[in-house]
Structures are given as C-alpha cells and as structure tokens.
Symmetry: C2
Subunit: 338 residues, 2 copies
C-alpha cells in the first residue's frame, strides 16, 4: 500500500466496521439478473475509488456518537452511505460517457458508440437504484435530500458546460458551479451523517456547511492539479480542463490580472485549432504564455481559507477519534497531489 | 386539429380537469433559476407529446370513481400523473442523446457535442426532479414503484442494445425487452391510478397487467410502423430500427421462416457497409430481400391478442366513461398509424 492508502486507512479506522458493511451493501446493489447489465456493473466496479463520501456519512454519524452497532434505525447508516456512493458512481458513469463522446470525436467506432449508449442507460439505472434503495429506509430524509442534491449537481454541470471559454466568469460563479458539482454531495453526506434518521435541519446545517466548504476546496485543488504539467505526480492525465474549455479559478485570476496581450495568449491556449488533439499541447501553450503562479497562489489561498472555515465548525462536535479523523481529512484536501 | 387529435381529446374528456392540472404541474416542474438549464427545459418542452401515460394514471383513478375533486390525497393525482410524464420525458431526452451521438458520427461538431453533453445532464436532472416531486407526496408508493420501474426500463434498453443484430432472438426475449422499454411505465401508470394513495398491491395488479399488455402492443405496432416505407403516413422517419440493428418481432418471424439464402439477405440489409448512411437504404434492401407480410401479420396478430387480453381486464372496472375511454384507447393502440 502507498503511504497515501495507509493514511486513508488510519483516517477511517473509527468507522471500519460500518465502512465494511457499506461496501457489502454497495456490492449487493451492483448486481443484476440481466446478463448485459451485470457485465456492465462488474465493469464499472473499478470506479468506486476512495469512497470519501460514504466515509463522511459514517464519520459524521460516529462523531455524534452513533454507529450501526446502536439503535435499529442507525443500522441503516451503512445503507445511507452506500446510497451516497451510488449517486456519486452514477455521476462518474455519466462523466465517462461525456469523455467517451470526446474521445469518439477522434476515433469514430460503432463499438464505442454502443458502449456510450449503454453507459448513459447504466448511469440512469444506478441513479434509479440509489433512489429505490433510499425508499426502503424508514426516514424519507435521504430520498428528499439526495433527489434535491442530484438536481443541484446536474444544474452545476450544465452551468459549467454553458460557461466554457468564458474568461470573464467571476470567482463567485466559479465557486457556485464547483460547489454544486462537488461540494453539494460532500455537504449532503455530512448532513445525513449528522441528522439521520430524525435530527432536525438545524442539527445537519453546520456539518453540511463543513462538507460544502471542504468539497469546494477539494474541487479547487483538483483543478490546480489539472494545471500541473506532471502527470506522474497527479497520477492521472492533466490539462483536461484547458482542452475542454473549462476556465478554472487560477486561470480566472491570472486572466483578470494580465495585460491584453497575455489575455489573448491565454485565450489562444484554449482555442487555437492547431492545438486540437495535440497531447498536452494546450496546457503547454498556456503555461508558456503566462505566469500562472500568482493565480494558483490565490486559488490555493482560497482553498486554505475554506478548509480553515470548515475546521472551525468541527469544534462544535464532541471531541473524539471521529472528529479528529474529519480534521485530518480536511488536511488531506489541501495536501493531496492525487 | 387532425381527426386523430379530435378523437384523442374525446378520449380524455372524462379527466379534462385533472389533465389540465397535470399540465400545469408539469410546466411548473420544467423551470429553473439557472439560465442555462432554463433554456434547455424550454427547448425540450416540445417532447411532451400525447401524454398518454399521464392520462392513463387519471383515467384509471377516474374509473375507480376518484378524481382530484375528491379526498385531499386524491388532489395529488395530477401530481402523480405529472411525475409519470417527467420520467417518460427524461427517457426521451436520453434517447435523443443516443440519436444525437448517432448523427454526430456523420457531422462532428463541437456545438452538437455540448448539446449532447448537456442533454445527458438534463435527463439526469429531470429524473431527479421527478423523484424529488414523488418524495413530496403523502404516500411513498410513487417513489418506490417508479424508482423500480425506471430500473426495468434502463435494463430493457441495455438488453436491447446488447441484442442488436441478434437474428436468433426468441419472440419471448423480444417481448421481455419491449415490455420493459414501454409496457413497464404504462403498467405503472395504470397501477398508480388504480391504487394511489393507499390501495393494496392486489388493487393495482389487474390494471398494471392491462397497462403492460397495452404498452407491449403499442411497441409492437410502433416497430411495425418503422418497417412501413411510408414516412408520410408514419409522420416520422422510418427504417430506423434496421439502421440501428434492432431486429423487431415481424423480422424475427420472417427470419425464422426464411430459407438460408433469404436469411443471408436479411442479415445483409442490416449489415452491408455500402448501405451505411444511405437514407432509407437498409429498409429498402430489407423489403426487397424478403416478403415481410407473413411476419408482420404474426406481429399484428400478437398485438391484437394482447389488446384483447387487456380489454378482458377492463370488465373488472365499474362501467362508465373512464372505462369506455380506456377501451377506446386500447383500440387506438391497434389502429394507429402514427
């Protein structure tokens, strides 16, 4: 295991048991008696990733002194965590469709097209399964909250698509979109952990805000990593935002502070036709055409500010291993390079 | 208004008031304060079509002697009908994505790609809105039933995609897929109308079966219309199934009964590369390569059998204008050429 995995494991130690139940429930939810569907579900199991959102549900519940070992309703907590992960998984499957469409512009292939078509349907099926699972819970809270949050996520992604190549976008608009895309589900995970099954909205509000701030910070850092040329460090391909026309926070700041010539060069990096399809070409052009460091510093400072604000909220929680884990997790958000 | 529209209007006369409320609720559900989303929602309003599914909810409720004019819970009936229409609308938006992807193979265009990307997200948003609306109802029945049915629809579409170009498919497999694609939501609409808010599963079972049979018959006829060369009569482009590799009931019968040479010609109609992109080319080749009439007659006979079976179930309902309307509607399914 990499040091990263080790520290993540330590992070979730207080909820190891419920996390194991969550994974079992998740596995059980990703099966089908339709062979074609079953194949696809096996295929996408690899998307499951770090399962931070599910962990946030359980850490928040644990911080409130609740776990599945207690009252019957709280035996539902791993189900709630699994539902949050299923919603996230469905968004990933549909992101993959969109990436797939992108790739397909270069290599048109009927086979790819079927995959793509099936992926849209599979994402729909996973959303529906998540909602159906939520209707089996005693409290309607999860159904209500997650069907609302899913709308916020989609609206944010649509707004982002509509705002491509908009170099005049305000930092406020960027943050509203990034909060909807990423912060909203982090916030819902924390809120559900805090108040499920019968806590008041007030009980969940503080930790929802924590989740939304941490999630926004996570997205800001994610966008910064995409601007790093080093795919080795990132552990994934970088420069995808500039290729997709996504003007992220660091670039928005850099553009605002640049003189007209540099602004033109930044726009060129995103739009010059001859850079289309050149691997890493647009990012390379962007990094050469302006000094992004001041903009990146501003973005990093904003992420730190958000994490700091989130951490203050943690002091409202009783001291304990779960609260410490949430504190450490918020550190990860800033320090991660992955 | 065309004669068709006139007769459809007569059909829904018994529920005109609730249908108007449904359309109002539907209109209210298709708004957003995110401008980009709002534009898209206005754009897709044109998909709303005949709203037969919503009408089935209300006709079934009316046949049970219930309408929004009565008990408070039944004031929710137009909301239930609107939710069913929203689920249908979301499936249409995602079908459109898949068609869009198809078209894009020929005319690659970034603009089309954004539309496509946004359409995936918009369909997701409409699904989520439908589920959220269902969580506002007093009874969890709609949330439970429709999240289950949505999974059946998606699984059916995935199975259909996986079964493309499968000329050995059994009529049973075709019917299972067509029932999932179309019958399932018809059945859910009828079941919800029959038992919402607090009827037993037994109360809904008979009319669910009616809906699934009528829906399957509707799909069989729809597939037959796609095999008619005459787009004028069909009022939409035909031959799309053979282009997409969908082997529908009439073709399955024709293939089973054909000698090896004709079977090879049928396969050619679906697969010959030189027919790719030739408007109507594959359908023309198919119609020339074999006599589809016997297969079409078998398919039409099966649809008639299903409608007949559904009609028998209607005798369980109290006599009245709503029951008569459901009877007439089942006639439409067989006689429609649109």
């Amino acid at each position: 295991m990499s040091p990263k995995d080790v520290s993540l494991q330590a992070l979730v130690a207080p909820i190891a048991e419920d996390l194991a139940s969550m994974r079992e429930i998740l596995g059980g939810a990703l099966v089908s008696d339709v062979p074609a569907v079953s194949d696809m579900l096996d295929h996408i199991a690899r998307f499951r990733g770090k399962q931070l959102r599910g962990a946030l549900v359980l850490l928040n519940a644990s911080a409130r002194g609740r776990s599945s070992a207690q009252l019957v309703d709280q035996g539902e907590l791993p189900v709630v965590a699994a539902i949050v992960e299923l919603i996230h998984l469905a968004t990933l499957v549909h992101d993959d469709v969109l990436d797939g469409a992108d790739k397909r512009r270069r290599v048109a292939s009927v086979n790819r097209r079927w995959d793509n078509q099936v992926a849209v349907l599979l994402g729909d099926l996973i959303y529906a399964r998540a909602f159906h699972l939520s209707t089996t819970l005693r409290s309607p809270l999860v159904s209500q909250l997650l069907s609302q949050i899913t709308q916020e996520i989609c609206a944010g992604e649509i707004e982002q698509a509509a705002g491509r190549y908009d170099f005049q976008m305000t930092p406020e608009s960027y943050e509203r979109i990034a909060t909807a895309k990423t912060g909203a589900l982090y916030g819902a995970a924390c809120e559900l952990g805090s108040r499920y099954p019968d806590g008041s909205e007030f009980d969940g509000a503080e930790m929802r805000s924590f989740g939304r701030e941490i999630g926004l910070a996570f997205q800001i850092i994610d966008d910064l990593i995409d601007l790093e040329g080093d795919e080795e460090v990132a552990g994934k391909s970088t420069g995808t935002d500039v290729e997709d026309g996504k003007v992220t926070l660091a670039v928005l700041h850099a553009y605002k502070d640049a003189d007209p010539a540099v602004q033109a060069a930044i726009r060129d990096a995103y739009t010059l036709p001859e850079l289309e399809g050149v691997p890493g070409g647009r990012l390379k052009y962007l990094l050469e055409s302006c000094d992004l460091e001041p903009g990146k510093a501003k973005a990093r400072a904003r992420a730190a500010e958000l994490v700091e604000s989130g951490r203050k909220r943690l002091t409202r929680l009783p001291e304990g291993t779960a609260r410490t884990a949430l504190y450490t997790l918020s550190e990860f958000v800033l320090e991660r390079r992955w």
